[in-house]
Chain length 161, copies 2
């Protein structure tokens, strides 16, 4: 950081404060994912399964291609996870109008797991929210959104249209 920048930078932006934010992000993310991780572990699944279940639940009838573009992983990576979920009947696959495509949907079993996993994270957020000011929550959401890359903001927007 140059001397000029130091002069122009308000106190709440010091490198030390930024480092605190980096740590807050690290610790909070770790704790945020720890709940679902425990449940998944018991049924021999991992975080990758959670993500697939989450986004299939979010967008029923989603194609493989769309799912890949949200997850930003290779189809080989998705393959193992998805096949397990299909084999164990959490997800059901059907053929689309375009017969090259496949549509993924949650089964009842899949919905139940999705609900269970999401509820844990929802509870954590609700606990935080009930002790916080609405302005703080809105600040939190705004900053989180601004932290996302432009192209992924678009993806987020599409996902929530």
């Amino acid at each position: 950081m140059t001397d000029l920048n130091k002069l122009l930078t308000p106190l709440f932006l010091s490198d030390k404060e930024i480092r605190k934010i980096i740590e807050l992000i690290f610790f909070s993310y770790r704790d945020f994912t720890s709940g679902p991780d425990e449940i998944l572990y018991k049924i021999n699944f991992g975080r990758a399964h959670h993500r697939v279940i989450y986004f299939v639940g979010k967008r029923e009838q989603i194609t493989i291609r769309n799912l890949l573009s949200i997850l930003q992983i290779t189809k080989q990576s998705l393959s193992r996870v998805l096949n397990q979920l299909v084999k164990e009947k959490y997800i059901i696959v059907s053929t689309g109008n375009d017969k090259r495509t496949k549509n993924l949907s949650l089964t009842k079993k899949g919905m139940e797991l999705e609900e269970k996993l999401t509820t844990i994270q929802t509870k954590r957020i609700r606990n935080v929210i009930k002790n916080a000011k609405e302005d703080d929550i809105n600040g939190f959401k705004k900053i989180l959104y601004a932290m996302i890359d432009k192209n992924n903001q678009i993806q987020f927007d599409k996902l929530n249209m």
Copy 2:
């Protein structure tokens, strides 16, 4: 969610809104770590190396034990990563007063890498901050902190004493 809870829950707390927050956390964390990941990839390191370098930089002369308690991984997991960092002279090890313990510090090379990696994340945060209101940043920090488990909040506090 019970009917009573629905009545008591303000609009900004709807399940749909909470799910948006879950997604914001997922997307923002992924993009937040992507910058350092790229640099680390080029020198055959991973995210685990980043974390070790970061916290050794934060707490010079840290012991293995303390580092493990921050990272919350097993010593077998740390072992491989730390040995690589020592072998490639990013970290230097010395014996503590208690001769059972070891103290870890960054070398000049280690500090340079730490700086490089942290700068990427710092830049992202600064970019967000310069277009945001101070209240939003403070809300962001408050909520992040509240999202952390009690015992890890204590760890965060200690780390920033």
